[in-house]
Symmetry: C2
Subunit: 358 residues, 2 copies
Amino acid sequence: MSRPLSATTSYERLAAAGVRAQLARIEELVTSTRAAVDAIASGTVDQSTLGALAANVIPRWHFSMLNDRERNDAYATALERQVVPGSHVLDIGSGSGLLALAAARAGAGRVTTCEANPLLAEVARQIIDTQGLTDRITVLATHSSAIEIGREIATPADMVISEIVDCGLVGEGILPSIRHARRELLAPDGTILPQGAKLYGQLMESSAVQRLNHVEVACGFDVSLMNALATHGHFPTRLATWPHCALSAPVELLSFDFTRDVPEQQNRSVSFEPTTSGTAHAVVAWFELDLGAGVVLRTTPDNTATHWMQAFLPFPAPVEVAAGRSIEVELRCVSTRLSATPTRVCTEAPSTTQEATR
Amino acid sequence: MSRPLSATTSYERLAAAGVRAQLARIEELVTSTRAAVDAIASGTVDQSTLGALAANVIPRWHFSMLNDRERNDAYATALERQVVPGSHVLDIGSGSGLLALAAARAGAGRVTTCEANPLLAEVARQIIDTQGLTDRITVLATHSSAIEIGREIATPADMVISEIVDCGLVGEGILPSIRHARRELLAPDGTILPQGAKLYGQLMESSAVQRLNHVEVACGFDVSLMNALATHGHFPTRLATWPHCALSAPVELLSFDFTRDVPEQQNRSVSFEPTTSGTAHAVVAWFELDLGAGVVLRTTPDNTATHWMQAFLPFPAPVEVAAGRSIEVELRCVSTRLSATPTRVCTEAPSTTQEATR
């Protein structure tokens, strides 16, 4: 059942080509895997073997994340203040094992840390081993949702900690992971760190950032079919490094209380009051992560110390907004994706402020 | 044969874990492929089907590239000036099909464009179809190295054009592709566009950029084993958006004449004369692409209009340099990767310039 985009375009043929592209990618990965297995078998594993594997399965942001002192210090401080000595801490998303190490240093008697990426899990294991903490920290090469009490861990954890947080907070799956951990892996009176989070955002004009994920015409040719390959939902941008103009003050978009059941899907109509007239391309969002005990991480656009970028939630099409005329935006958070769609641009003239008269 | 990094680390176990990580990635791709096939079979292909496929196989930079007017105009102008009316043009790396369209508009009688990514090839096909140019432009969903005269194309091309150029010029394989095309697919008196390229670079201090691919200590813990997962060779950086300090003037690193056989591997010792004392973390490189007929594309760090970033070639370890004391750097270009290794830091005091005396 072909539903042409125009007389000559077809989503079905694109999807079939996408399947072929994924099969080609699988073949590349099989070839790379075979080369690595050969290197292991012949005892010739070296830096380039690992580099080739890592290039396929490890995003480079792990380095800027590990070098983010603001992030590291915030988590370390929050752990120092809240880990109960001798308690059992479950860390979701080991990465290098850093938070597990910090939890152990903060006094945890036992730390279980899980990592869905097998290569990262092994790095964490070896780093923890180098620190001589293998007896107190257990690395599980698994997604937290696959952990069961009585199987991977003997008893529920006293504390669940996690930093699987992308620029848009939800992109690495913190909502379903914390939801599952709260229900299945945490002791009834246990602690969750972070305990909550808020997403903030403002109306943004930035054709420069919009063009990172959208195209219309190039050299006079309509190449807009490329937009069928665009990213849906939010994508990261270092807002300060691109021309942009905020068209509204920041407003709270969504609020999450991790100590309760967090719904994985949230829709909310958010009202923005433009302070400047212009072309709104997106809502730009950032988060506040409440680590408890007074420790809060913020990724506001003017925070250039953090490794987190801001999240760009492109509108389906740009909308013209006028200062003082409110605009309603449907904000959706579905599992790991944020999106924003203007639903109503108020065309009423704003009520003029009455001047005081004597 | 385990060769431990330290008492407790092992490259072999990391490689085995990397193999498991790639197998997990393959499983994800198989799951995604199955979902797409199901959507095709049930006639439910939509934007989200394509978005999910594209997220796995299409880098987002295609959008900034297509929106790069400097690039587009340079190629369009070079084609207008050099395409012989009625000739056969072979375009390597279709992408959206833009250069093939521009070649046809410039007067080519026949254009063959090849694209190794099947999804992009189909997008190009449909865009070209929408422009009504299917009779003059043929899209081959194949790598150029798989093309044979008498099979995919009837006769050698009069002109070979390509823009498979990353920030470091060579990263998308332009050297082997042009080498093959010159030998196998181009008529003896044919034209190559670009006809040549030069790589320039300067000694750079930037711990900010270095930390995007390197880590030592976090929260007081040695997590340097993560560097086993670092990118080898060059990686892209928008230099202007990070704190940095140039420690030398730009020098020519490598020169490529595409009208002759280009060696795929080049080693060259490059001498830098530091103009400022400091810690050199890398050579930062950019290119000049000679499109012929007086058209040159430059991606110097001060060019903020181009979508190309600069290429960061991290040193194995930072080196201290002193103003006026030359430093030798071994520059290597192996197929698609650039790397830079300091070989000698001159510790001789520079000869003082003789003042003219009366």
